[in-house]
């Protein structure tokens, strides 16, 4: 079992899309997968379940009001289990500010179910707060989705600095499994950014780039993984191959 966080403090880089489609591709490949939505905006939860309300979410687990097993829901369409999020997560930093061991709550809460899954994937919020720190402390490594543009380099700087702070201050070393190129278009600037990520940061860039493809957005709208919604689309095959490459 491995726990991996999908993180980028820059917004709009297809974090949720990547988490959902990689998780569903792993599930299709026969893995037992749990997706945890840690974003108060609940984008992953809404992409999978639409506007369905959940009485129990990751918030209740973090606040010690529910056990983790009690909040897991299954999605037949996506083929994985999921822990939904809710907007109350946005205030949790204040509620847990004085809590002893606040940074390791998620890791401790996941311990009873670790062996029930082959992969646990955490969809992080773009903001750097206590929930993101909890995700990183619970994770062995991270996946960084980026759109290949100038500002994506700044996003990588931020993440690497956060990982360093996690290591220094909290004593947990988090690895970078790799960088996922999303919304890829065959342009000179995209190739230059990818080259710099490889050479300047020494990070692994996954070979399967996710093309800028309308099928991805349509799949969100229909609440399906892209490989079901548009199985012959370039994005569907790219996500399927990416998921294999990531394992």
């Amino acid at each position: 079992m491995s726990i991996v966080s999908v993180i980028n403090q820059k917004g709009g880089v297809a974090k949720t899309t990547t988490a959902l489609n990689v998780a569903s591709s792993w599930a299709k490949q026969g893995k037992r997968v749990l997706l945890i939505d840690l974003d108060p905006q609940s984008s992953a939860t809404k992409a999978v379940f639409g506007d369905q309300d959940f009485e129990c979410t990751i918030y209740d687990v973090m606040m010690n009001q529910k056990q983790v097993e009690e909040v897991i829901v299954s999605s037949d369409r996506f083929g994985f289990d999921m822990i939904p999020a809710e907007i109350l997560l946005s205030g949790i930093d204040i509620q847990l500010a004085a809590y002893f061991g606040r940074e390791g709550i998620l890791r401790r809460k996941l311990e009873p179910i670790n062996r029930s899954y082959d992969c646990i994937i955490i969809d992080c919020s773009p903001s750097l707060g206590l929930m993101t720190v909890n995700a990183l402390i619970a994770s062995k490594d991270i996946i960084i989705p980026i759109c290949p543009e100038y500002f994506s380099m700044k996003g990588i700087d931020l993440i690497l600095s956060t990982l360093q702070s996690i290591r220094t201050g909290l004593g947990h070393k988090v690895g970078v499994r790799g960088v996922v190129i999303t919304r890829y278009r065959d342009r000179k600037i995209a190739k230059e950014v990818i080259r710099q990520v490889r050479e300047q940061y020494g990070l692994r860039v996954f070979d399967n780039y996710i093309p800028d493809n309308i099928a991805v957005e349509e799949a969100h709208h229909m609440h399906f993984p892209v490989y079901i919604h548009a199985p012959t689309s370039p994005a569907a095959s790219a996500y399927m191959e990416l998921a294999k490459e990531m394992l």
């Binding site: 720190v133 996690i166 290591r167 201050g169 909290l170 070393k173």
Partner: protein, 153 residues
Amino acid sequence: MSKTNPLFVDSTKMRGDRIGTQVEVQNIILHDGEKLFITVLGQQGQPMNTELEPMDETSYGGRVLLKHLEGISYQFVIEAGEARLFHSTIKQARAEHALVDKWEPVMEEVVSLMDLKREEIAASPAASAPSSDRKWISDAARTGQSLLEKWDL
């Protein structure tokens, strides 16, 4: 020493608790017979000298026991036998779970941390208050000065 973000402060440790700090020095290659040490001086007590072991081709690491969040001074030293070959400048930090630094030797004559007393380090320019503290002190001084001027004292 930089400002501390409370997000990255271990809430399970009290200030002053003993912690094992993982030290890592990167970008360093030693030749035969050379050894790398870290010398650490805390708020009280004698400097501690700890030998660092190779982690990979260009980095060395080790573990030192420190008091959580205590201000420390540290220096890296390369020795061969009894001879001190190279050393880094004396730097300041807060004792946390990891201390990761790059090897940057200085060629000028720099005093060894082992030979310094706490008061001498505190008095040296390199070991002045952390930038955040300096800013606070200078801001406070400016505020005090402006009040004195305002009230014509």
